[in-house]
Subunit: 129 residues, 2 copies
DNA sequence: GTTGCTAGTCTCATTTAGAGACCTTATGTC
DNA sequence: GACATAAGGTCTCTAAATGAGACTAGCAAC
């Protein structure tokens, strides 16, 4: 008997392995994008401007910050608003869909906290053997 | 009032932004690894051998299949067993920790299926504007 | 007039990923 | 006996993604 995830992968296979046809894969690409989740987590704190995000995540380059924010905006997870101040400022806000994605990630965040030590142990063992 | 995720990011910040000190980030790197989850999903179906995995995921290169399996083995999410057949065969199996990671991802898989259409719509709108 | 802030863009170097040839040992086919 | 095929990879070369950091414009404060 197959479980739920397997069925999803099978569905995707049935569609000819087109990565753009697999929702899980598309969303994983997002989650995968290295900076996506960290930006969303930061925005969960409230709207923030470009440089504020850069300061909050000091090891992201401006290049990737711009690119990731564009991707998030394109997919409707974040909204971008320009204010006509001098100089103009830009504010990024989590959309309802962005918030729901963050909620959906909660199980994974919990797992990460619960199992990180196990992973580190496994790495030590592997390094020995 | 801050929510749960924000506290986690703040904790990580308090530790000096060392990526290796942030469980969420470490696990995200795994989820991020593009092939990790697809391999785990395939193994959820039961143990599989190297070339069987390659056939199940036809768009992965041998190079990345090897590398991803090594990472999963190192972190204790998958076990590798060599059988002394001729030629020797190698079987990969989901560990209990790997299974629990997959369970933790369930919320995200559901979200992906529920929201993929919204994302596609958002992309269309963005492409117009 | 010099510096700093805004939100980026642009170029170049490094890192990572992908494609595919190649390896060893053994089996079945002709 | 020669030839193709299978196993589970490794190796090299190329292509794509990423990171570091210089540079931009317009305006305010010193």
């Amino acid at each position: 008997m197959r479980d739920v995830q397997q069925n999803r992968l099978d569905e995707w296979k049935a569609q000819g392995f087109d990565p753009t046809a697999c929702p899980v894969r598309q969303v994983l690409d997002h989650v995968a994008a290295k900076w996506t989740m960290l930006i969303l987590l930061e925005l969960a704190n409230g709207p923030a401007r470009f440089n504020a995000l850069g300061r909050a995540l000091p090891d992201i380059s401006k290049r990737m910050l711009t690119q990731t924010l564009r991707d998030l905006e394109r997919d409707g997870l974040v909204t971008r608003e320009v204010f006509p101040t001098k100089p103009p400022s830009v504010e990024y806000t989590l959309s309802p869909m962005g918030q729901s994605l963050l909620s959906a990630m909660d199980g994974l965040f919990d797992w990460a906290n619960d199992n990180f030590d196990h992973i580190k142990q496994a790495r030590d063992v592997y390094a020995q053997g």
